[in-house]
Each structure stands twice: as C-alpha cells, then as structure tokens.
C-alpha cells in the first residue's frame, strides 16, 4: 500500500467542478496552504468550501474566492472581527452581493458534524444553539428535561489536511495546535489528501503516537515546512 503522490498538482487533479472540500487548519497552525494553492491552479469551480475561516488569515482561500471558484462556504467564523477590514474582504463582498452562499455552525457543531460522518453516525443531539437562530429548521428533542438540537453528519467529497509527518500507509502525526480540525475533516471526507512536512518510512512512527490512522487517508504528498508568523487577527 503506497499512498504517496510525487506532486501536489497530481494529488488534486481529479477534483471535479461542484465538489465539496473540507480544509483543515487554523491561521498559521496546520493549514494545508500548498493544497489550496494547487486547487487555485487546478481551477475547479462551483466548489463548496468547508473551513473555519474564509477570509481572516487565509489569503489562499481568498484567492479561490477571487477566482470565482467558490459557490458556497460552510464555516464557523467567516468574517473579520473588524467591520472596516471586512468591508474590503473579497469573501465578505461576495457574500453581501449574494454570489457566495454561507452556512454557519457553532465551532463544536461544525466539527462534530464531520466527526459523525467519519464515524458512520447519521445525526446527533447537541445542546448548542438551542434558543438561537441556529435551531431554525432543525428538530428538537428533550432528554432528561434538557432540550437538544438534531444536527446531521457532514461528509465532504475531499479533505485537505496538513500533518507534521506521514508514512506511505497514510498514518499521520500532528504537531501542537496544528492538529485542530485536520483529524476529523480527514476522517469525514471520501478522499482525504494529506500534505505532510515529511514522509517517513513505514514503521518509523511510534504506533502509539499516530494521531491519524492511515485508513482515513487516501493520498499523501510531501511539502516540507514553510514558516509563518503568528499574530493577532
């Protein structure tokens, strides 16, 4: 079993127009920048992008927006906090113009929906969002006197994830807070493409310390390590 691709462009080339793609990462930590850039070169259109942030700290996703590749965004923190910065954001402008549809979930619900998809769970009852606009159109149910919302699984066609090390079986290890959304997005998607800083030999990763069992990963591509500078949003 060898899931390693030699080229990042090769790893994304079958993504069709209309695909849904979950993108891991949180600002400077664990964002699969090279894969997003490859997607921009690839040019697939009418995409549904599932990621934490569509604008802030994610210039590469912004490029997809600018190129008109994005039809819909599913996220939990779509906009800049600052209204003035937001006013100049291509994503915010596209949303206001009705060119991109936006679906927003609470952060825990957002990632639990993908955890459910990966785990074969069709739906789950969460207390989060009860009494808010998030409950609109959703079933509610009372368990032990407390009200919960039914949220359903979200299975992306593809996931782009970033890991520290990976092997040819697709086993991955993450580093510090660069883990974030990557594991559950990778488990949820039909095709998961892991960009890793380093591909190691099978057997080099301590089996007790693999964060992401290779069974969830279909493609692995080595990208090295770029440097980013963390700074407040």
């Amino acid at each position: 079993m060898d899931k390693v691709f030699a080229s990042i462009d090769e790893a994304v080339k079958d993504i069709p127009d209309g695909a849904s793609i979950a993108i891991g990462g949180f600002f400077t930590a664990g964002t699969p920048v090279e894969l997003i850039q490859a997607l921009a070169r690839h040019g697939a259109k009418n995409l549904t992008i599932i990621c934490q942030q569509m604008g802030p700290g994610n210039e590469d996703v912004t490029k997809l927006v600018e190129q008109g590749q994005v039809k819909k965004a599913i996220c939990n923190y779509p906009f800049y906090r600052s209204a003035s910065r937001g006013a100049n954001s291509p994503f915010e402008i596209a949303v206001r113009a009705g060119k991109i549809e936006v679906e927003v979930y609470p952060m825990g619900t957002f990632i639990e929906k993908m955890r459910a998809a990966g785990a074969g769970i069709a739906g789950f009852y969460t207390p989060t969002g009860v009494g808010t606009v998030v409950e609109r159109g959703k079933e509610k149910k009372v368990f032990n006197g407390r009200t919960y919302l039914l949220e359903v699984a979200l299975r992306p066609d593809y996931a782009f994830i970033h890991a520290w090390k990976g092997d040819r079986f697709g086993n991955c290890m993450y580093r510090k807070t660069a883990q974030n959304y990557n594991p559950e997005m990778g488990k949820a998607a039909t095709i998961t493409i892991a960009q890793v800083e380093k591909v190691v030999e099978a057997g080099e990763l301590d089996p007790d310390k693999v964060h992401m069992p290779g069974i969830y990963v279909q493609r692995v591509v080595e990208v090295g390590r770029r440097t980013y500078k963390p700074g407040i949003d």
């Binding site: 979930y105 207390p127 808010t132 993450y174 559950e184 440097t227 963390p230």
Partner: protein, 231 residues
C-alpha cells in the same frame, strides 16, 4: 429595542482591572476558558494560581504569550497569538476540545458580550450593525462555551461606546445562549444573575448603586453587602 441612556456618564475601572476582578473570582483547581477581548486579559493575573487554561483550538495548560525565540507557528491560541506550554500541557483536536466543553468539563468560561439580559441570556456573536442576514456571523466557539461551561462569566464595558444599555431586559441582538450567564463584570459593577433577578454586589470606586442603575435597563436588586469592586 435598545433604550438609549445619556452618553457615557461614568468613569469606571480599566479593562485590566475588570480582568483582575474576574481572576479573583476563579476558584483554585478550576479549568478555565478565556474568550477574545477583555477575557484574554484575565491570563495576566493568574500566574502561580492553581488554574488550568484551555485554548479551544486544542490545548490544556496554556501558558503566557510567547515572545522571540519561543514563538512557534504551530502553538497558537484562538486569536492566533503565539502561546507557551506549562508543565502538564497537552494537545488534542478541535473536536475533542469541544467534546470536553459540551461535556461540562470546563468549570468557567469568561466571555465578552454585546448584551446580557436580566435572565442571563447572552448576545455576543452577531452585531446587527454589520448588516448581515440574521443567521450569518462569527459564531466561533461562543455558543458551545456558553452552554457547556459550568459557570459563564461575562466581561464587558457596562454600556456601548454610544452609551446604549448592554445590560438589558431582553436581548435585541441575536442570542448566543439562553439563561447561561451567572456573573457580569464590567468597568462599573459586579452583578450576579440570580433566579430573582440581577443582584448588584459591587460598584466601581466613587459610584453609587443609583449611578449603576441609571446605565442598566433592568431593575437591580441591591445587595445588602454592596461594596466597592474587590481588587
């Protein structure tokens, strides 16, 4: 509707001291999540305290902000600030992080707010001034923290920059969660949310209960032990 009081009438304590007042309220042995804004400043007051900070991105025993050579792009908090590790630190996924938040393992969440109602309803994720549809905005982790934490403390300015009430009878902004706030710490006062209503416990130096009431929409219950903010 938000009823407009006069423009900002009172000088209260600094944001750093709101954070200190909250730090004083935290019980030793607690797990604490600090939101963006004033809540983040609480971390400046807890060095040496027996408290464990969670970063919802997936970290426990988060230490102070990192500087210089300690900065690691893979070790950041939810505001994208580089942070350090304390002994006993561990990392986990965002999914695990919110599992522990919803699962009621967080003793305290300190959150900012746009409005808090007398029933403890919290509105903090969507400022209608931005002009988005009502269901679109930066929810982030706020709704999960608000329903998951055992105790929700709100840290905010007592009124808006325009002088509008932020402590209101009923939230006019989209709510984050219903009936969850237990304590409100502002530049002017410390207010407890009880089943009987809002109890004014402490006021900023030089202010009276009447002063605080004048910038607070719901009727305040004055604590028999009313005192100056405990710093």
């Amino acid at each position: 509707m938000v009823v407009k009081p006069n423009k900002k009438k009172f000088e209260g304590i600094a944001r750093e001291l709101i954070a200190l007042r909250i730090a004083n309220d935290l019980q030793d042995g607690s797990y604490v999540n600090l939101g963006i804004g004033i809540p983040t400043l609480v971390s400046n007051w807890i060095e040496g305290r027996d408290l464990v900070l969670q970063s919802e991105i997936g970290m426990l025993n988060t230490g102070p902000l990192a500087e210089g050579d300690n900065i690691d792009q893979d070790c950041i908090n939810a505001s994208c600030q580089p942070v350090t590790e304390l002994p006993g630190c561990c990392y986990f996924s965002d999914c695990e992080s919110f599992a522990m938040i919803r699962g009621r393992y967080m003793d305290v969440a300190v959150l900012g707010a746009l409005q808090v109602s007398e029933k403890g309803d919290l509105a903090g994720w969507n400022n209608p001034d931005r002009g988005f549809p009502e269901h679109v905005g930066n929810i982030g982790g706020s709704m999960d923290l608000a329903v998951g934490a055992k105790k929700v403390i709100v840290a905010m300015e007592h009124v808006t920059t325009k002088g509008d009430f932020k402590i209101v009878k009923k939230c006019s902004y989209p709510v984050t969660a219903i009936g969850v706030v237990k304590l409100i710490a502002t530049d002017l006062a410390l207010i407890e949310v009880t089943d009987n209503g809002l109890v004014l416990k402490e006021v900023a130096p030089g202010l009276t209960a009447e002063d605080v009431q004048s910038v607070t929409e719901p009727k305040l219950i004055i604590s028999p032990d009313l005192r100056e903010i405990a710093l």
